[in-house]
């Protein structure tokens, strides 16, 4: 084999390209370290959360970019700021709470203190005590600020990057992805609640899973088992220019496009109700065509670790967080909008039964990556097969394709230089 050499391992990327993915990428600590350096510290945008999670000056939220702890802060002037959650003195975490409010960020270890921009503003005993000890005269506080993040927002979704050379967020995402993000974030957001699913697999196995429409109706058999007739045969895959991000969607068949979405939901509902094999309580299958376009499912990904999900009226931000070579935290933030009426909120909560670690149509995703991870020991030098739909990395009307997975790897290879 004479493919590109990856690090000092025996892994090679085959010359065939992204239709073959080396299994060694999922359990290699050198690869993991390189991802930290090139992807997460590199020119990528990583979602930090919603702007509404830090509404007031001084509010902060702790999260991670990859596995690197960071803090998102609302400044005194209302702008959003971010920095690495690590004291520049001896490296301790600065903020320990998930959410909080602070006038200054003071390390518990030696009380070094930073302002909202990450500037070092206080060093305990800098001049010593009683003329003894203290920092040397040439110590300059301005040389010891926190590592800052570049911050950008889109429709209330906040992104951060360690690399100030990263392209502007709109350019990074491309117009198709921007439009589809705006679609599910048209109004001020209201958080409905959080949970985290711990996956016993490499983060990329989940990133691939969520970009893989091929498995959806096969692994997740809830809809077929309960014979919920899916009117929604329309849909497709949108892949942005270079393949990094994608949208998979399906849509009610609405030929005259005259706003009959709710009626079709109801018709679907009725069918399930009359069917002996249907659900005893089919209200979960109801819904509102809240974006007035008939789209009932939209799964959107932004490289490397963002998933924005609409399953009917269940709206969720999922963050894929690496926690080691074979551990991943999947953080689910369920949301709605401030002006939702109680009925719509109730529907979102009810349809959240579809998703999450106990979701009727998503629980399997929590285990299937682990099934791959556990089978890795025998894969020495082998590759997986990603040929559904050929070798293209392009949008398509068919969802029987692995084009968006190939897009992920195309981008991954570029940034990782492998």
């Amino acid at each position: 084999m004479n493919g590109t050499r990856i690090h000092k391992t025996s892994e090679h990327w085959p010359n065939e390209g992204v239709t073959q993915v080396p299994y060694g990428l999922y359990d290699n600590s050198e690869i993991y370290a390189r991802e930290r350096e090139r992807l997460f510290l590199g020119p990528t945008w990583n979602v930090l959360g919603f702007a509404c999670e830090v509404p007031n000056p001084g509010d902060y939220k702790t999260t991670t970019i990859g596995d690197i702890p960071v803090v998102l802060v609302r400044g005194k002037d209302g702008s959003l700021k971010g920095f690495e959650n690590r004291c520049s003195h001896r490296g301790s975490l600065l903020c320990l709470e998930r959410f909080g409010n602070a006038k200054a960020f003071t390390c518990v270890y030696h009380a070094w203190s930073y302002d909202e921009d990450g500037n070092l503003v206080g060093v305990a005993f800098q001049n010593g005590v009683g003329g003894e000890g203290g920092m040397p005269d040439d110590f300059r506080r301005e040389e010891h600020g926190l590592r800052r993040l570049k911050i950008a927002s889109l429709s209330g979704l906040v992104f951060g990057s360690f690399d100030f050379g990263v392209p502007d967020l709109d350019d990074y995402l491309g117009p198709d992805i921007v439009a589809r993000i705006r679609r599910v974030l048209p109004r001020p957001v209201k958080i409905l609640g959080y949970y985290t699913q711990t996956l016993r697999n490499n983060w990329k196995l989940y990133a691939e899973n969520v970009k893989d429409p091929y498995h959806a109706s096969i692994l997740h058999s809830f809809f077929t088992t309960f014979r919920v007739n899916r009117l929604s045969q329309q849909g497709g895959i949108i892949i942005d220019g270079d393949g990094a991000h994608h949208v998979s969607y399906s849509k009610l068949d609405r030929p005259n496009d005259s706003g009959h979405g709710d009626q079709e939901y109801e018709a679907e509902n009725l069918r399930a109700d009359k069917d002996d094999f249907g659900l005893k309580d089919p209200t979960i299958l109801g819904g509102q065509d809240e974006f007035d376009d008939g789209i009932t499912l939209q799964i959107l990904t932004v490289f490397p670790g963002l998933v924005l999900q609409q399953v009917r009226n269940s709206l969720v931000l999922r963050q894929i967080m690496p926690r080691g070579v074979d551990r991943t935290d999947l953080i689910w933030t369920n949301y709605g909008f401030e002006d939702d009426d109680p009925e719509l909120t109730d529907l979102r909560l009810l349809q959240a039964n579809f998703i999450g670690p106990a979701g009727f149509i998503s629980m399997e995703d929590g285990a299937v990556g682990e099934f791959v991870q556990r089978a890795l020991p025998g894969t020495n030098g082998e590759t997986s097969v990603v040929k559904m739909g050929g070798d293209a990395v392009a949008s398509s009307a068919s969802r029987v394709t692995e084009a968006s997975i190939r897009g992920f790897w195309k981008t991954y290879r570029g940034i990782m230089d492998i």
């Binding site: 609640g193 699913q197 711990t198 909560l349 285990a367």
Partner: protein, 157 residues
């Protein structure tokens, strides 16, 4: 005295409830609830902040039966079972002909390969109807101590 009676009845209900789930008799699980009972699993973080999301959110017995049917017929997960350890049962109220009760629980998950790990801990916040032939949950709020669910949550808690 009445309070002690209630304590005994509630403890017994919880013991039967745990035995039902832990012996994989899931078809009998909805029968522990009134017809319009609300069963929801959430986390202490959400609960403390009034965030309404459920990890499971069943608003009546039919929805619970649908969940069992889905687990049996549709969902794919590795064979596993639970061992509930329930303790510190407290009667916290007696209003609207319902008993309010709270209990702490630990659930160990046992996988088919023999691995057994602490899966979740938390507390049950229950509304219990004692007026009928057998006590029933009119509401069961399962509040998990941690935000983290390992892999998936298939079997109810």
């Amino acid at each position: 005295m009445a309070r002690l009676d209630h304590h005994g009845a509630v403890s017994n209900l919880l013991a039967e409830y745990a035995a039902c789930i832990d012996s994989d008799d899931l078809e009998a699980w909805p029968a522990f609830f009134t017809e319009q009972a609300h069963y929801r699993i959430t986390t202490e973080f959400n609960h403390a902040r009034g965030l309404p999301i459920g990890i499971i959110d069943a608003r009546n017995r039919n929805m619970m039966e649908d969940r069992v049917a889905s687990l049996r017929q549709a969902n794919i997960y590795e064979p596993q079972r639970y061992r509930h350890i329930i303790s510190a049962v407290r009667i916290t109220g007696n209003e609207d002909r319902l008993i309010q009760a709270e209990a702490a629980f630990m659930v160990v998950r046992i996988m088919i390969d023999g691995s057994q790990e602490l899966f979740v801990t938390g507390r049950y916040l229950d509304q219990i109807e004692l007026s009928g032939e057998t006590p029933l949950f009119a509401e069961k709020l399962v509040v998990l101590d941690s935000d983290k669910i390992d892999t998936l949550l298939a079997i109810p808690l």
